[in-house]
């Protein structure tokens, strides 16, 4: 399968392991991602909170580049990039006069904007049967809390998943043999881009999310966004220093849990670079699926 790939800035930096694990997993699933040539930042939170046109134009440049490259479908593994690209696509399509203005600003024509998938939708497209078919290890001891965060399924109607009770990520995770838990905070905000300027807020909100997952029996959290990962994994250091009774819990990217089921080890997937050590038994205590 061919697909256009918009990595987004985090995949080259703070979320390198997300990119690494994703590429390994896609190879096994016979997907050949084509990077958008010379892609640039979507503008993220900082653009849309300060200038509507800047935000539209930065996303539109990438959509125009993808179109020029002949890509009919693209996927963005970062939930924030996905949301920005899709929001811009919708606005450009709904407001022709705005589209004309943005085309002038970016000096590119936009005609057929590609289909845009987030990582969960994209794995749905690949199919859970395909994942199950390539599975080498059954992760039956895993009790995963699937965390959607804010931007994967919002605003409502953005994709086929429900914006209050989504279930698409659970369906993918279950294909690894892992159990998924029911919990209350799968859509609660972690504080997102306030991580640096208002760390106090992010520490409070992330703690509530992590506590709820633990309370409902999870032994790991699965995320599909570099910002969510950074707040839920790295900020556990800061949570621990503020709340001495806090119990830590590992946080995996969706591509990492899939990678474990496909037989990769922690290092191959970059899981060793997380702040919270991942030490759930994978190979030794867990039954291998017979070939």
């Amino acid at each position: 399968m061919q697909i256009g790939y918009y990595p987004g800035c985090s995949q080259e930096g703070t979320a390198k392991e997300y990119d690494k694990s994703l590429r390994e997993v896609l190879k096994v699933l016979d997907v050949d991602p084509t990077e958008i040539n010379d892609w640039s930042c979507c503008g993220a939170t900082s653009a849309h909170v300060t200038s509507h046109k800047l935000s539209l134009a930065l996303s539109a440049r990438n959509l125009a580049l993808a179109e020029k490259q002949g890509l009919k479908e693209i996927f963005a593994p970062c939930a924030a990039c996905y949301n920005r690209l899709l929001t811009s696509k919708n606005e450009l399509q709904e407001h022709p006069e705005q589209k004309y203005e943005i085309e002038t600003i970016i000096e590119e024509k936009i005609n057929n904007i590609p289909e845009i998938y987030n990582i969960v939708n994209f794995f749905q497209k690949i199919g859970k049967d395909k994942i199950a078919e390539k599975k080498k290890i059954d992760l039956k001891n895993f009790k995963a809390a699937c965390y959607y965060g804010c931007l994967l399924v919002r605003p409502s109607g953005i994709n086929s998943d429900d914006s209050e009770q989504p279930n698409s990520m659970e369906e993918i995770v279950k294909a690894t043999g892992a159990q998924t838990i029911d919990w209350n905070f799968k859509l609660e905000c972690c504080g997102a881009a306030h991580s640096i300027a208002r760390q106090d807020i992010v520490v409070d909100l992330s703690k509530k999310i992590l506590d709820d997952a633990i309370k409902h029996g999870a032994n790991l959290i699965v995320v599909a966004c570099p910002m969510c990962h950074s707040n839920l994994d790295m900020r556990q250091q800061n949570i621990k220093s503020k709340f001495s009774d806090f119990k830590e819990i590992p946080v995996l990217y969706l591509s990492e849990i899939l990678g474990l089921a496909l037989g990769f080890d922690k290092k191959q997937l970059g899981i060793d670079t997380h702040f919270i050590e991942f030490n759930l038994p994978v190979r030794n205590d867990v039954q291998e699926v017979s070939a």
Binding site: S40, S46, T50, H52, K53
Partner: protein
């Protein structure tokens, strides 16, 4: 009719509507947005109150609030609004208009973060964390907080020492020059 010559005086509300393409009068103040807002605890005015300010023409009150800067853009409100009013987009517009009007921003560190982030994009086309943290710390004079996680990230290769410059760097710069909002305090 005697009123047909009356000219409408443009207000901040019109500027907001230009950005959002939605009428603020849509909101009937049910408060569902504020009830589900994860940031409400940290805000001064509740999110629905910001809409009310604009409806009543109390533009300064809206633009001076900490609320507009604390909104994390999580879209919970926009998803739940019974009138399909996109409040997150409205908050974006109030911030933008506040910046254009040179309003004194209440949550200074948050704006400094956004400026430091955008500076990297303007110069390189992609995010550059080392530059972001450097510029943010210079702007806030807060050099030593929140640095305990950096050594591990450097070792793991997650903080690139040098920026990646996209080939279309000049185009990105020109996009910024045509669209960024400069006037602000």
């Amino acid at each position: 009719m005697s009123h047909h010559n009356t000219t409408h005086v443009r207000t901040i509300s019109d500027d907001i509507t230009d950005i959002t393409s939605q009428n603020p009068e849509l909101c009937y103040q049910c408060g569902k947005c504020s009830a589900g807002c994860p940031m409400r605890n940290y805000m001064d005015d509740a999110p629905n109150v910001i809409v009310r300010y604009i409806q009543l023409g109390l533009f300064e009150k809206a633009m001076n609030s900490a609320t507009i800067w604390l909104c994390a853009g999580c879209l919970t409100c926009s998803s739940r609004c019974p009138k399909n009013f996109d409040l997150a987009k409205f908050m974006d517009a109030v911030r933008e208009v506040a910046l254009r009007n040179g309003v004194k921003v209440k949550e200074k560190t948050i704006l400094k973060f956004h400026k430091a982030f955008l500076k990297q994009i303007k110069n390189h086309g992609r995010s550059y964390e080392v530059g972001l943290v450097r510029d943010y710390k210079m702007a806030t004079f807060d050099l030593f907080s929140d640095v305990e996680n950096s050594p591990k990230m450097l070792l793991d290769g997650k903080l690139n020492i040098f920026p990646h410059n996209v080939k279309g760097k000049d185009k990105i710069k020109s996009i910024f020059e045509k669209t960024e909002v400069k006037k602000c305090k």
